[in-house]
């Protein structure tokens, strides 16, 4: 597929909202204008990021089954999108994620043990046990505090990007949303702001085809695609194969360069599939067709990048298995460490008095009084 110039007129990229940008073909060859400039080492790093996310998720699900944690949400099958985009952006940029972008943290090198401390809500939890598991916050790694309320982050990302532009900064923002939550008012509010002020922001819609039990068409309505949403706001919008690591990198880089060149917002619809349950509280067998994953036309992102590296002669089964062993060991070590700091289930959590910290910058009188009562 054609790769447009960064400043291509919006009318001329309009059709891309109906098409699909891909780089990897079915044989694992990188083909076409969108092939990104990535070295073999970069690609191996991408593979490692995705495998780490998957291994991390599997281990956390097991921890949930073991009764160690109260809740978890995995990104099974969608790992390429966050991992690829993180590597295409720069330190200093700010992501406004949902609960399914753990790949952003992992690809940014955020300490895995810190993620686990948050999930366990233990004494070392950087968020002091306040937030539901996986609702991380990591400003140091360009990761805005995740809200439980869907879509609120979308206009906030636009505002962050506007502020960066207002200050003559080159940092850009990236907004994330699921296709289901794109039905919210805040999504549309963000598009109007981004369009009016031509904010340097990437507007990601992760179309994993499900919003808990409702299929994507409930949010999409009569439009053909979610990328169509950009058209009415004159925001260039492209649909991308979200299971193709090279495409996720290339499209993210294109959108980021447009933002950095002050060419305004770009909307990216990522096509993927939520292969697992919505969360540990969900039972998809009630609403999902059997064998949906096997029939989904876009193959697994890890398998595809692995196949590509193998086709390049840069990878083989031994290397893959040894990388997997290394990652598994890394995750087990991190979990052992996090576990030693307690958990919400063991009761080794931050002390009750800490609940009153950070409600305000300074503790007002009424909270001082309440803090005095809580320990009684």
């Amino acid at each position: 597929m054609k790769k447009p110039e960064l400043d291509e007129k919006v009318e001329r990229v309009a059709l891309m909202r109906k098409q699909l940008v891909r780089v990897l073909d079915d044989d694992g060859q990188a083909v076409g204008e969108w092939v990104p400039d990535l070295s073999v080492d970069d690609k191996i790093a991408g593979l490692r990021d995705m495998m780490t996310v998957r291994t991390f998720d599997a281990r956390m699900l097991r921890a949930h089954r073991q009764g160690k944690i109260s809740f978890y949400m995995q990104a099974l099958g969608e790992e390429a999108i966050a991992c690829g985009q993180q590597r295409a952006l720069r330190p200093g940029d700010m992501h406004f994620p949902t609960y399914r972008q753990q790949g952003l943290l992992i690809a940014a090198g955020y300490p895995i043990v810190q993620m686990m401390n948050q999930i366990l809500s233990n004494e070392e939890d950087p968020l002091k046990g306040r937030q539901l598991p996986v609702l991380y916050s990591a400003k140091s790694h360009g990761f805005f505090s995740i809200s439980g309320n869907l879509a609120t982050q979308y206009p906030q990302a636009v505002g962050w990007a506007m502020a960066s532009a207002m200050r003559g900064d080159t940092a850009i923002a990236s907004a994330w949303i699921g296709e289901g939550a794109s039905a919210e008012n805040d999504f549309h509010a963000a598009l109007v702001m981004a369009s009016t002020y031509q904010a340097p922001v990437i507007l990601n819609i992760v179309n994993n085809h499900w919003a808990i039990s409702t299929p994507e068409d409930f949010a999409r309505g009569a439009s053909a695609t979610f990328a169509d949403r950009g058209y009415g706001f004159s925001i260039p919008a492209i649909r991308v194969d979200g299971n193709d690591y090279l495409a996720t990198y290339a499209a993210s880089q294109w959108a980021a360069e447009r933002a950095r060149a002050n060419l305004g917002p770009t909307l990216l619809e990522w096509i993927t599939l939520r292969r697992g349950a919505h969360s540990t509280s969900d039972d998809p067998s009630v609403y999902r067709p059997d064998h949906e994953s096997e029939q989904f036309p876009l193959a697994d992102p890890i398998d595809r990048l692995r196949q590509h590296l193998t086709a390049l002669g840069a990878w083989d089964d031994d290397r893959h298995e040894s990388l997997q062993r290394e990652i598994t060991a890394e995750i087990e070590t991190a979990l052992a460490e996090a576990d030693s700091h307690g958990s919400v289930k063991s009761g080794a959590v931050p002390g009750p008095a800490t609940m009153f910290d950070d409600v305000f910058a300074e503790l007002p009188r009424h909270l001082r009084e309440q803090r005095g009562q809580v320990g009684e």
Binding site: S70, F71, S121, N122, D125, K128, G129, R130, Q131, L132, P133, L135, S147, G148, N149, L150, A151, G180, A181, A183, E184, N185, D186, A211, I212, S213, T214, F218, A219, G221, S281, D282, V286, Y287, V344, V349, P350, P352, T354, M355, F356, V359, H366, L367, Q370, V374, E376
Partner: protein, 337 residues
Amino acid sequence: MPSMTMVEAIRDAHMVAMEGDDRVVVFGEDVGFFGGVFRCTQGLQERFGDHRCFDAPINESAIVGAAIGMAAYGLRPCVEMQFADYMYPAYDQIVSEAARLRHRSAGDFTAPIVVRMPSGGGIFGGQTHSQSPEALFTHVAGLKTVVVSNPYDAKGLLIAAIEDDDPVIFLEPKRVYNGPFDGHHDRPVVPWSKHPLGDVPEGHYTVPLGEARVHRAGSDLTVLTYGTLVHVAQTAAEERGVDAEIIDLRTLVPLDVDAIVESVAKTGRCIVLHEATLTSGFGAELSATVQERCFYHLEAPITRVCGWDTPYPHALEWSYFPGPDRVGRAMEEVLAA
């Protein structure tokens, strides 16, 4: 009489209301095919078809806004917010529109809708699956607000709410969906099948809006409460050997002032109990009402036991939740005063 969980009772109320009146329609996020994330609408789509029970896009303001429009047409929508914590996008539609439509149009248009929402904590839901926003509704002129505590009331009140000609906010404390929670999270859950209020009659009946229920009669002091804390108050009274009269208010607006006055006039002591944050909570309204109406009967200051003025913390849930210990201590203090 069949025994039901609160989820089953709510489902049954929908069935009865939809059976009896074809203007009743039910929709919300994951409400149709799946039957709701708490399964409160399970089976409705199958039974009544997808014109009467259907899934909505994730847009709470559209859900309530559309419900208002349908009501203006002549239907009786009963919609679900997946969690009370997610009603905020709908708040403008609820407050500026549903609540005032009758008044601003001098009765020309009305909004007989029900907005159901699971509320309250105790399930390790963190700050966005635990809130009790009842005071944000009771403060608004034109809204009726119900908080249920058990299956029997839930069914009767939901049918009454659907039949009511005004907008009703219907809060369902999720911690008591499956059993009367005694406040001790470390003890096994008692199912509704072991509780008399789990006995739910078949077919149509209503519990009128605006009538409180004496959950436990007593003479030492009055506890004014609703939702989950009705059961917590009972535990505290039993554990401390306090002969508390526990009033389950059930409907906050309109409030059953007579029931409150009658009880406090008898006991002379009053504790106000809710899970929502203390400051500007509904407890302040209750406390003012008791002061205005029962001042000369009071033998001790009115005491509020509520959630702290912080967001609901995930790991510290049980330090936040006003459990039997805090309630019991307050009872002893009020008796000693």
